[in-house]
Symmetry: C2
C-alpha cells in the first residue's frame, strides 16, 4: 500500500481547513517556495541572461513535459508545457482543424468547460467560411460523430459533476468517422489514469494547477500523439517552437518533435513551481492515486448518504465513470457552501445548485473525510435550509 | 536630476559583471524574491483557492496594466497583462485583421523580431483565402502603406541595431490609408518614451522581461486604443475575458473594456514578480529614464570611438532614432563577445556580425560605461582578431 501520509506531509495545508478544493486550485507543495526562490536568487539573480542555457531554462518546457508524461499515460517527448489552458485548447484545435481541411464541424458538448467552448467559438469566427462549432448534450456525442466532423473536443470530466466521458470509446468512434480528438484533461490529469497513448488520443491539453498542485496560473500542457507529431503543425508558430530559435531567421521552420508546440517565452518562475510540484510523483504513480481516490470518494459518498441524506449525489455512482470529485445537488447549495467554508470545509459551489468536493489523495485522508462529513451534518441539521431566504442566494456573483 | 543611484540599489547586480544585456533579460529587482515568496506563502499557501478574490489575483492583470500605462504613455484601463508576447502579437493582429475584413494584407518589415513574423505567418496560414503577410525593408514601410493593407505590424526598435521606426509618422500614414497599427514595444517599453496615446497607436504589445525587469518569461501586455476598446474583439476569447467568468455561461460575452483582452489564467507568481519590478517606477518616470539613456548611450558611443575605433557603430547616431542600446558591426563579433563575457562585460551577439549593449539607466551608470569600454579596449587590442580562426566562429549556435 502506498503511503499517502508521506505525500501529505509534502504540502502546506491551510490552517484549520479541510481542503476539498484541490480540483480547483491545489495547495502549495512545500518544495515550491524553495524551488522558486532558488530560481530567482541562484539563477535569475546570479546568472541573469546566461541562465537560459546555464540553468537549463531553454529545455525546461519539454523536461517538464516528460515529467508529466507518465502521469497521463504518454510516452516521452509527446508533451510540452507553457501558456494557459485556453491557449493550448486553441492551439490543439486549430492544428487538428487544419489536418481535416475538407471538414467544417468542431464537435463538443454542453458539459465542456466554458473556456473551451469560448476558444473554439473564437476560432470558428476567425476561420469564417462555413465552419461550425456544434455543441450537443454529453450523451449525444457518440451519435453526433459523423463524417463531417473535423475534430471532437471534450473535457474528460465534467467540472460540475465529475461525470467522465469514455475517452477510449469516443476516440475510437471519432477515428472510425475520420475525425480527430482533442481531450481536455483539466479535471483529470493527476487524478485518474487517463492513458493517452493506449486510448489512442490525438491531442490532449490540460492545466497543472488543479490536481497537479503547481500553483495559480501555472503552465498548461499539450500532448500530441506520436504518430501525429511530425505532421501536425502549430498555427501558434512562436519562436520557441522554431528549429533554431536563436538563429533569428526570418522564415519559420518548425522544430522537430513536440518542441514545435512551444510558442513564446514561458514563465520560468511558474516552471520552477511546476517542477517542485512534480516531485511528489517520484514516489507515487497515477494508478495508485486513482485507486486511492476511488477509495476515499466511496467512503465520502457512503458517509454522506448516512449523515446528510437530504443531499442528492450529482456525481455518477460508478467510480469508473467519475473523476476525482464528489458533487451533490442541493437547492440551498450556495448558502450551505458559504457556511461550510466558514466552518473550515472548503469545497465550492457551481450554479445552479451544485456543491463540489475535490478528492485529492496526495493530501487528504479518511480522517479528513469523516471530519468533513461530521461538520456538514451539523450544519445541514442546524438550520431550516428550506426557508426562502436561503434559496434567494443561489445566484453566483 | 533624478537619482539613479537609488534605483540602481534596488537591483541584484550579478557579481563581477557589467551587465549590458538588460535589453534581453533585465536583472532581478531585490523586491521580486520577497514579493513572490509572500505570494506563495501568505496567499497560495494560506488562502489557497480563496486568494483569487481575497488576495486580489483576479484583478491583478488589469492592475498591472494600469501600472504599466504611464510608462508607455497610455491612459488608464487600456492595458492588460498576461500570456507571452507571441500570443499577444497574435491576439492584436487577429483582432485588427477582423476589423478590416475587406483587406487582405498584413504589412511588416524585415527588421521585425522574427517571432512577430512567425506568428503573423501562422495567422495567415490559418485564415487561408487570399491573406498575405507582406514583408518589406524597414525603409520601405511608408511607401508600402496602401489601401489594401489591413494592418501594419512593426517592432518599434530593431532588436539588432536599435534603429527606431517613427511610430508617429507611420501610424499617421497608416490611418490615412485606412489601415490599423500593431506596435511591438518589446525593445522600447521601459526604455524610451513611446507615447502610445499621443501617437494615436491602435494596438500595442510588449514584454516585461527586458527593460521592465520582471523576470524570465514574465507576463506580456496588450494595449488597445481607447476609441477601439469597445469595438475591437479578441479572437482568443478565453474565460478571463468573459463578462462574468465565474458564471460559467456556455456563450461567450466579452467583458467591458480592456478586460476583454484577458485570455486564460495568468501565472500569479509571474504577476507578483512583475508587480515588484514596477515599484521602481514609483520614483522615476519614463522621460527621465529616456533622457538618461541617451546621456549614457552618447557617452558609450564617444568613448568607444576613441578606444575601439576599429568597431563600426551599427546603431543610428541620432539618439532620437535609436532605442536604448548601442550596437557595433564587427567581423569577429562572436569571439569578441565571448571574450567580453568572460571578462565580465555581458552584452550579446546577433548574427551575422553584431555585438549589442543594452543601456539601462535604472542600474547602469557612467562608471560602468567607462569600465566596460576600458575592458573592451584591452581585449580588442590584445589579439590579432583578423586571424581566420576568429572569423570561422561567427555562426550562432
Amino acid at each position: 500500500m502506498t503511503n499517502f501520509e508521506h505525500t501529505r506531509r509534502q504540502f502546506v495545508l491551510p490552517d484549520g481547513q479541510l481542503y476539498f478544493a484541490g480540483n480547483s486550485l491545489g495547495p502549495a507543495p512545500k518544495a515550491a517556495a524553495k524551488r522558486v526562490q532558488q530560481t530567482i536568487e541562484a539563477e535569475w539573480g546570479s546568472m541573469v541572461v546566461k541562465a537560459w542555457n546555464t540553468a537549463g531554462w531553454m529545455d525546461q518546457p519539454d523536461k517538464l513535459g516528460n515529467r508529466l508524461a507518465p502521469i497521463v499515460g504518454a510516452t516521452p517527448d509527446t508533451i510540452t508545457t507553457g501558456d494557459t489552458l485556453s491557449i493550448k485548447v486553441f492551439q490543439a484545435l486549430s492544428s487538428a482543424v487544419s489536418m481535416r481541411p475538407e471538414r467544417r464541424v468542431i464537435l463538443s458538448d454542453s458539459g465542456n468547460f466554458p473556456t473551451d467552448l469560448y476558444m473554439a467559438g473564437g476560432l470558428v469566427n476567425l476561420l469564417q467560411s462555413d465552419y461550425e462549432l456544434r455543441v450537443v448534450e454529453p450523451e449525444g456525442i457518440m451519435h453526433a460523430l459523423s463524417e463531417n466532423v473535423a475534430v471532437v473536443m471534450l473535457t474528460q470530466a465534467d467540472y460540475r459533476t465529475g461525470r467522465l466521458h469514455s475517452m477510449k470509446d469516443i476516440t475510437q468512434r471519432a477515428h472510425e468517422v475520420g475525425a480527430l480528438t482533442v481531450w481536455d484533461l483539466a479535471h483529470t490529469a493527476g487524478a485518474i489514469a487517463t492513458n493517452l497513448d493506449t486510448n489512442k488520443v490525438d491531442f490532449a491539453v490540460g492545466c497543472t494547477y488543479k490536481f497537479l498542485n503547481a500553483g495559480p496560473g501555472s503552465p498548461a500542457f499539450i500532448y500530441v500523439a506520436p504518430h501525429l507529431i511530425d505532421t501536425a503543425s502549430s498555427v501558434l508558430s512562436g519562436w520557441l517552437g522554431h528549429a533554431r530559435p536563436f538563429a533569428f531567421e526570418p522564415e519559420y521552420q518548425a522544430a522537430a518533435g513536440i518542441r514545435h508546440f512551444r510558442v513564446g517565452t514561458p514563465s520560468v518562475l511558474a516552471m520552477a513551481s511546476l517542477d517542485a510540484a512534480l516531485d511528489v510523483w517520484d514516489e507515487v504513480n497515477i494508478n495508485e492515486v486513482h485507486s486511492r481516490s476511488i477509495e476515499l470518494s466511496e467512503l465520502f459518498i457512503v458517509e454522506m448518504a448516512k449523515s446528510c441524506p437530504s443531499l442528492t449525489l450529482a456525481s455518477p455512482t460508478d467510480p469508473y465513470q467519475r473523476g476525482s470529485q464528489v458533487s451533490f445537488n442541493c437547492d440551498y447549495g450556495y448558502p450551505l457552501m458559504q457556511a461550510l467554508i466558514a466552518a473550515g470545509v472548503v469545497g465550492d459551489f457551481r450554479a445552479p445548485d451544485i456543491i463540489r468536493f475535490g478528492i485529492t489523495p496526495l493530501f487528504l485522508n479518511e480522517d479528513d473525510i469523516l471530519k468533513a462529513v461530521g461538520i456538514m451534518q451539523n450544519i445541514v441539521d442546524s438550520a431550516s435550509w428550506d426557508k426562502p431566504e436561503f434559496h434567494a442566494r443561489k445566484a453566483v456573483t
